[in-house]
Amino acid sequence: MMASLCHCPASPPHHSLSKLLSPLSRPRLHPLLSNVLPIFNPSPNRIRAGDQFRRLSSSSRSVALPPEELDSPSLGDLTRPDFPILHQEVNGFNLVYLDNAATSQKPTAVLKVLNKYYESYNSNVHRAIHSLSAEATDAYEQARNKVAAFINASKHKEIVFTRNATEAINLVAYSWGLSNLRSGDEILLTIAEHHSAIVPWQLVAQKTGASLKFVGLTKEEVPDIEQLKELLSVKTKIVVIHHVSNMLGSVLPIEDIVGWAHSVGAKVLVDACQSVPHMVVDVQKLDPDFLVASSHKMCGPTGMGFLYGKSELLSAMPPFLGGGEMIADVFQDYSTFAEPPSRFEAGTPAIGEAIGLGAAIDYLTGIGMQRIHDYEKELANYLYHSLLSIPNVHIYGPAPSETVHRAALCSFNVENIHPTDIATILDKQHGVAIRSGHHCAQPLHRSLGISASARASLYYYNTKKEIDVFIRALKDTIDFFTSFQ
């Protein structure tokens, strides 16, 4: 039953996903998926957690857990077996991968779907009538449906496949921005935006005469929402804003921000790269005009991202790139263009990658995004407080509390030790992979008075045990450098 939940053409998904499904994490059936996912038919019998885990553990590995441990496996424990890459030694140590904000690992289910595509039905899409092309086209478009359902878009044509989130932002900047921005207009951003959300708008502002306005940080090191409200005016044409900060770990109230922006007639583009993989994101509820995310950060392949855009906006926007498949008719001196989303998908798309993204969404949906989010909140607090217990460590971003939720990542610095030195020793001497540098957020680092930071970022397949390993390794690294100072 569970295997059929994750439908992929000619490629049944990884069956171990079924072990994660519970009455609390059943995927919501989206109208767009009515022809993709069979109707979920839950057992009418209530399943105790212990029963669930007994069933989970027996689904693929026949591991019999003692009764006292039946309730103990975390989501990380349960999902780790699905990620082959995590089970290796790096530099002689068991890998602890804590660079998930940069990119996530891929479950076997996704790898199998990719392999199946290239082995069985690799073909170009929307072009030929032969069977392979029809199968590839079907899978490609089903992937679009899955993305639409995942973020609760009302129409599949509101999803445009791009190479990554960066390209999606560039698409909006060059297509919508060049058509709608004029001298005197303002583009409102926060100082905490990723470079990919800043640079395209700088380039478009230079061409149009529009200007960029930046919202700063509060003393709690979160983007200042009050300042954002003050900066909003009739001059504001678009607000470009992240949902979850890739450096601060802070979460912005997008629904409120969208409401405020719309009240002055401004559009809103949400960079959801750090939220879509980790929590329920509902575009009909949040109501942004545009939203972008990246496949590789949500267990999907690289080279794939997507843009969500309200259909009336996409329909009014000119093409971003020209080429095959985005046209209606081509004449010698002019062309007419296809309707969205084809209008914005020039040339042969990343077909296998789109299908792989669809498989990743199946996998995440099978676990349940709320379940992922709840587990990551637990990890986030554990990581934050564990790091805070180390002397001379400064963590950036807000302190977690009953009302302040942090993403499961911490950017930090250790007094008198460069983050790159820390990351180097953690990797070489402990097998712990973290990021160091500016995390593509130089303006934010500058506003914090630093040039770089270290960042440990988690995903649902991480565990508290791994955080413990990281903390021990960090202490050891600090001792190593301190002994030479």
């Binding site: 020793i425 070489k428 001497q429 040039s451 770089a452 030479f484």
Partner: protein, 216 residues
């Protein structure tokens, strides 16, 4: 503890005494450093700010073959290869970093920045009176300083054409602290600093010939 004492301590901590650094023991050191290393340097008047002090061994244009960059690089490769434990290679790298000459604060400007490294790196280049390249470098990362120091130990005092002859691939066999030099990553300090020194060398050659140069 000052950096000289640190370097000394690190060197004394090296487990394999036969593998002590030929560069750390023979290259120039600022006279104020009290390293317990044999030093054979002479100073020339008016050294270029930010450049390393020249050594007698490289004071003439006809330098011994042993002081040519590629041979120095081979010795560097051998030196790190003789340290089987990554932690010992890290310690050696830190020792190199500690031995790097203090970098003038005034030279920490954007025009001297090496782009692409995860840490901040500054490099200056100058031609000395004998027509040899003099490099200085600094970083806010100790390990990156070590990388810079190693590179300078290879390139400093070489003729401009010798600096330009060095290819990133020549560092392919160099495995410092488990960080192979061959990776052409945008965060590969070896690659970025080497390219930076070569661009600066090209610019100095162009300036000397009265040609326009685009310093990077």
């Amino acid at each position: 503890m000052d950096s000289a004492a640190l370097a000394t301590r690190l060197l004394h901590a090296i487990p394999n005494r036969n593998s002590s650094s030929p560069f750390l023991s023979t290259r120039c050191r600022p006279s104020r450093r009290r390293l317990s290393l044999s030093v054979r340097c002479i100073q020339i008047p008016n050294p270029t700010p930010g450049s390393l002090l020249p050594c007698s061994a490289v004071a003439a244009r006809e330098a011994p073959a042993a002081d040519r960059p590629r041979l120095r690089l081979h010795r560097l490769v051998d030196e790190f290869r003789s340290l089987p434990q990554p932690i010992d290679r890290v310690k050696r790298l830190l020792a190199y970093g500690s031995a790097l000459r203090p970098f003038p604060e005034a030279a920490r400007v954007s025009s001297n920045r090496v782009e692409g490294c995860t840490a901040q790196v500054w490099v200056t280049a100058a031609l000395d009176d004998l027509g040899r390249m003099r490099f200085a470098a600094d970083s806010d990362s100790e390990i990156t300083k070590g990388f810079c120091s190693c590179l300078i130990s290879v390139l400093d005092g070489a003729l401009p054409e010798e600096v330009l002859e060095v290819r990133p691939e020549d560092f392919g066999d160099l495995d410092v602290a488990g960080m192979p030099a061959r990776a052409k990553s945008r965060v590969n300090t070896w690659h970025n600093v080497l390219i930076s020194t070569q661009k600066r060398t090209e610019a100095l050659i162009a300036e000397g010939e009265g040609r326009p140069s685009s310093r990077v």
